[in-house]
Symmetry: none
Subunit: 197 residues, 4 copies
DNA sequence: AATGAATGAGGGTTCATTCAT
DNA sequence: TATGAATGAACCCTCATTCAT
C-alpha cells in the first residue's frame, strides 16, 4: 500500500471512530452528517471525499468493529486452552471489546433497520462467522465432555444476548467496572455449561 | 367510562398495535407517520386526532407494553410459588410476552435516543419498577437459601439481557418455538442461581 | 324577521364578538377556527352552521364594526352642530368606538391581506363611505369659513391615521384613559383646521 | 470583514429586501417561505442557509428598517437646527423612509402577533429608542419655549400614528407624491405645537 | 483535499373544511 | 342544531447529497 493510501486509511479510521460516537449517541437516523462532520472539525461536504454516502460510512464503522471481534475470537479458538477457558476468554474478550469500544459496538444492532442490499448481506455474513466461531467453542466443550449437553445455538444466543445487552446499561463512569462485569458474567454463564451434579 | 371514550380507546389501541409493527420494522426515525397511517388505511392527518405527535404515539406504544409486563410480574410475585418457581415463571412470562408481542416489545430499547423530557423520565421510571420486581424475586431466593449468593443486579441484567435479545433473532415462522425457547432459557438461566455442589 | 331568525342573529352576533377578540389577539392567520370555537364553548364543526367559512366569519366581524362606525358619523353629520363641533364629535366618537371595541376595531386594517374578490370590494366600498362622511364634515368647515384652507383628503388621512393608530398602543388597563386621549387628540387635531393668525 | 462574509452579507440583504415585499403584500402568516424563495429564484431550502427560520428572516427585515430609522433621527437630533426644524425634519424623514421603503417599513406593525421571546423583546426595545428620540425633540421645543405646552407622549403617538398610517394608503404610482405628503403633513402637524394666539 | 453554497425530496405537523350521525 | 371524526393540502423545516471552485 502506498504511503498516500495509508494516510487516507488512517484518516478514514479516525473519521470512523469519531463518527461511531455520534452515530451511537443519536442513532443512525438521529445523527446527521453535519453532526459527524462538526465533531471532526470538517465540513459536511468533505465527508464525501472519504465515504460514498451515509450508509457507506455506517457500514465501514460496522465492518471495522466486526473485524476486530472476529480476529479476537479466532485467536482464542486457536489457543491451547481448554474449552471452558476458551469460552471464558471469549466472554471476557467480548465484554472488553464491547465496553471499551462502546460507541462502535453499539452500532451493530438492528442492521436490517439501517442497511439494505449488498451492505446488509455482507454484514449478516460477517456476523454469522462470529457466531459460528462461538458455536465451535461450545461444541468443543461438549465433545470433550467438559460441558453438559446443551442446545448449542440457543445457548450461544443466550450468552451473546446477555453480553450484547451490556451496552444498554454499561457506563464507563459509574456502576460496575469492566472487570467486575467480566468476572461475574463469565462466572455465571459458565455455570450453565458446567456439568450439573 | 362513556361509550364514546371506550370507542376512542379501542381505536387508539388498534393504532398502537399497528404502529408498533411499523415502528419496529423501520425504527423510530425510519418509520414515518405516513407509513403508520397507510397501514391502517388512514391519512397522516387523522393520526393527530388520537395522538399529540409522533413521540406521543411512540410513548404510548411503550407504555402499553411495559404496563403489561409489570402486571404480569406482579402477579407472579404475589403468587404462592417458591422463589425458584417464581423466577422460572418470570422468565417464561417475559419470553412469552416478548415473542407474542414482538413488535411492541421491540420498541423498548434505547429510549434515550427517542425520548426526551418528561416522556423519558416516565419511561425510565416504569422500567426501573419492572427491574425492582425482578430483583425482588432474586432476593427472595437468596434469603430463603434456595439461591446461591449472587450479585443481584448483575444477574438480573444478565437474565433480562439474554431475554430481551431474543427479539433480535426470534421469528414466529422459523427456528425455535416459543416453548422450546422458554424451556431452554429458563432451564439454563436457573442453573446460575441454583446452589452449586 | 321571524323569531327564529332573530335568535340566530343574536347567536351570530355573540359569536362575532367573541371571535373578534381571538382574531384580534392572534391575527387572522394566527387564530384558528378551533381557537375561536373553544372560546365559545363550541366545537369547530358547529361554527360552520353559522358561517360559510373563515373568511366569511371575518368579513361579518368587519361588517358589524364598520356599520356601527357609519351609523355614528351619519348621526353627527345630521346634527345641528357647527363644523368644528362636528369634527370634534367625529374624532371623539371614533376614539370611543375604537377603544371600547378594540378587538373588533382592530380587525379592520390591511383588508387586502385577508380578503379577496367580492368580500374585498364590499369592504373597501364601506370604508370609502365612512371616509366620504368624514370629508364632508371638513368640507363644510371650509365652506363655512370656520376652517382654514386645507387639503381635505390629506387632512382626513392624517386624522384617521392618528386615530386608527391608537389601537396599536391603547390598553384599557394602563396608561391614558379614553377621556384623556379623546380630549388631547381632539384638541390637537382641531388646531390644524382652525384659522391660523 | 472577509470578502466571503461581505458576500454573504450582500446576499442576505438582497433576500431581506425581496422578502419584505412578499411579507408586506401577503402578511407574515400569509406569505410562505416558498413565495419568498421563488421570487428570488431560489429554493425554499436555500433560504435556511442564510436564516435560521421564518421568524428570524422576518426579524432581520424588521431590524434593518428600524436601524435606518434610528440613524436618521439621531442625525437630526444632533444637528444644529431649531426644535421646530428638527421636528419638521423628523416628520419628513419618517415619511420619506416609509414611502421609499414601503415594503420593509410596513412590516413593523403588530410585532406581538409575529414575534415571541427574545425577538419580541429586542424589537420593542429598538422601537422605544426611536420613540424616545422623537420625544426628545418635542421636549426640546417645549423647553426652548418654541412649542406650546403639550402632552409629549400623546402628541408623539398622534404624530407617529398619522405618519405610520400613510403606508395604508400611499402608493408610489397614483395619488399624492412623497413631497406633497411631506409638505402637507409637516405643515399640519407643526401647527399643533406652534404657540396658539 | 476541502468547502461553501445550493438543492429537493420528504418528514412532522397544523388546520380549514366536510359530513354522517 | 351540533359534533366527532376524518381529510388533505399546505407549511415550515431538515438533511443527505452534489458540484463548482
Amino acid at each position: 500500500m502506498s504511503l498516500r493510501k495509508k494516510k487516507i486509511e488512517k484518516k478514514k479510521e479516525e473519521i470512523l471512530r469519531s463518527a461511531a460516537e455520534v452515530l451511537n449517541e443519536k442513532g443512525y437516523h438521529g445523527a446527521t452528517m453535519e453532526d459527524i462532520a462538526t465533531k471532526l472539525l470538517m465540513t459536511k461536504g468533505s465527508m464525501y471525499y472519504y465515504f460514498k454516502n451515509k450508509e457507506d460510512l455506517y457500514f465501514q464503522c460496522h465492518r471495522m468493529m466486526i473485524d476486530k471481534s472476529n480476529e479476537k475470537i479466532e485467536d482464542i479458538i486457536n489457543s491451547e486452552k481448554s474449552p471452558l477457558e476458551k469460552l471464558r476468554s471469549a466472554i471476557i474478550s467480548h465484554i472488553k471489546l464491547a465496553t471499551t469500544e462502546k460507541s462502535m459496538f453499539s452500532l451493530m444492532d438492528k442492521p436490517e433497520q439501517k442497511f439494505s442490499g449488498e451492505y446488509l448481506e455482507d454484514i449478516l455474513q460477517q456476523r454469522s462467522e462470529y457466531e459460528k466461531n462461538f458455536d465451535q467453542i461450545i461444541n468443543e466443550g461438549i465433545q470433550s465432555g467438559e460441558f453438559d449437553h446443551v442446545d448449542v445455538k440457543l445457548l450461544r444466543l443466550l450468552i451473546l444476548g446477555s453480553l450484547n445487552w451490556i451496552l444498554e446499561w454499561y457506563s464507563p463512569e459509574g456502576g460496575k467496572t469492566q472487570d467486575e462485569i467480566s468476572e461475574a458474567f463469565s462466572d455465571y454463564l459458565l455455570r450453565i455449561v458446567k456439568k450439573q451434579c
